[in-house]
Amino acid sequence: MVQLQEVTLDELKHLVSDRAVSGETMVLNMGPQHPSTHGVLRLMLELDGETVVNCVPDIGYLHTGVEKNMESKRYLQAEVMTDRLDYLNTVGNNLAYCLAVEKLVDLDVPERAQVIRVILAELQRIASHLVWLGTSALDLAAMSVFLYCFREREMILEILEMVSGQRMMTTYIRPGGLWRDVPEGFIEAVEEFVDYFPARIDQYEGLLTHNPIFIDRTKGIGVISAEDAIAYGLTGPSVRGSGVPYDNRKLRPYSGYEEYEFDVPTAEDGDVYARYLVRVQEFRQSLRIIRQGLKRLKDLEGAPVRSSNRKFVPPPRSEIGTSMEALIHHFKLWTEGFSAPKGYVYVPVESPRGELGVYLEGDGGNKPYRVYWRTPSFAHLQALPKLSKGHLIADLVAIIGSVDIVLGDADR
């Protein structure tokens, strides 16, 4: 039986100011079950009246041991767990993991697969930003935005279901390419969304961007300077809201992002409103990338979507019936998997939240020796005390929303 250890007050005293010890300020628990913490996040707040003196995030409620589990699974099996980390960016997680595996084993990816990866990753970015916009607006009492956002997100989830059979846990991107080619009607479905969505962005902006209540609640709240944002590990839209054009799609391009034309939106103020502006502009940039991707996809009609390197990628079903070698490859890949050489790689991608990095180490065997997920939510939560000190509790809610966290991503 596990004996519960008593936590003495002395051990935790350094987390609060001296005023809390004397009883001048109040220590209050927020979460883990709280609608505005976007999951199971617990915050220990030291309050002077309604003002936050100190904020100590306590995470780990959603820790599932994914990194440990992956060490006992073969490279292909381990991919299934990547969906479960950041459940709003499943395609992006698959992509980061597959890029790391491909780099580790030095595997090529056909161009058509790259294009489909980019289209899906950008669709996923829009879907994730929609959840962010909906929930963080809901936190500020804008109910209708939430409902509109989830309506549009449904269209994207239906596209994901169309290609992979799953709305969220897709595992569609595989090392060396994709599970299979996109089905008929994919291009039309994405085109329909791309044509429909710009008007919806205008609608959200009409509801929020010039809304005096929204501006009152977000301007000048949670301000962080560019230097501090970098020092505290903010990435993605959160650091771009402070005027730093840090975007891995531009700086360290992957999957052919260097061939697409798009801008990296930034805002100067570094507050909640600036981060909102950046994300809303990213909707439009993602649409731009998707449009270019669709054009490329039409040119690459009929091209392969999986690498022809049979040591890593299983042969198509049609070959197995006629080719002995294909049968052997198929058998080997599904019984013992492929082996990766001894070595380690780190692959950063731009997830909707920020830099998602996979550190992958191989030991020559068929299972990863160590997988480390550098997740944006973990880094952003660490900056929360810095962002929230001196603000009201109600503003803290806006700040949590503005750094866009997913607890599955933070706790892994």
Partner: protein, 171 residues
Amino acid sequence: MMSDKLKEAIQALKDEFQAEEVVFRGEHTLLLKPTQIVDACRKLRDEFDFNVLSGITAVDYWPEEEIRFHVVYQLYSLAHNLTLRLRALVPGTNPSVPTIEGVYPNANWYEREVWDMFGIRFEGHSDLRRILMPYEWEGHPLRKDYPLGYEEVQFSFNAEEIDAKKPYAQE
């Protein structure tokens, strides 16, 4: 196709700390002693603009004892768009590394995570508590000698032996 700036940084660290360099798939890694980490990070940040600490993690090479852990520091320079990795080689008995909180403030949580998962102490850390596992947890899950936690399968020949080890609820 390696940038001159990165070459310069690597050479400077090699000269000052006798660091060993590992290159794999175009990624550069420097192996250092734990005591050199703080100075190396400060030098990289101040002289070579490595202003972003992407993450800290560790790798366990159990049953190796002499150098059982590698603590991995993933650095990035936003100004020059360069990536560099440092690895501190840590022994298996009383593993500890000085904290780099003073150089990169966001090392705080990453080091807590490494302490939680691997049991590597960070000397001078301001708040070295567990971060992901519960407060009263015993052991460090990502160590290689830590079991994954499956329930052992009971067969007729070893049913009682396994039963005796099972953690039934006590009165």
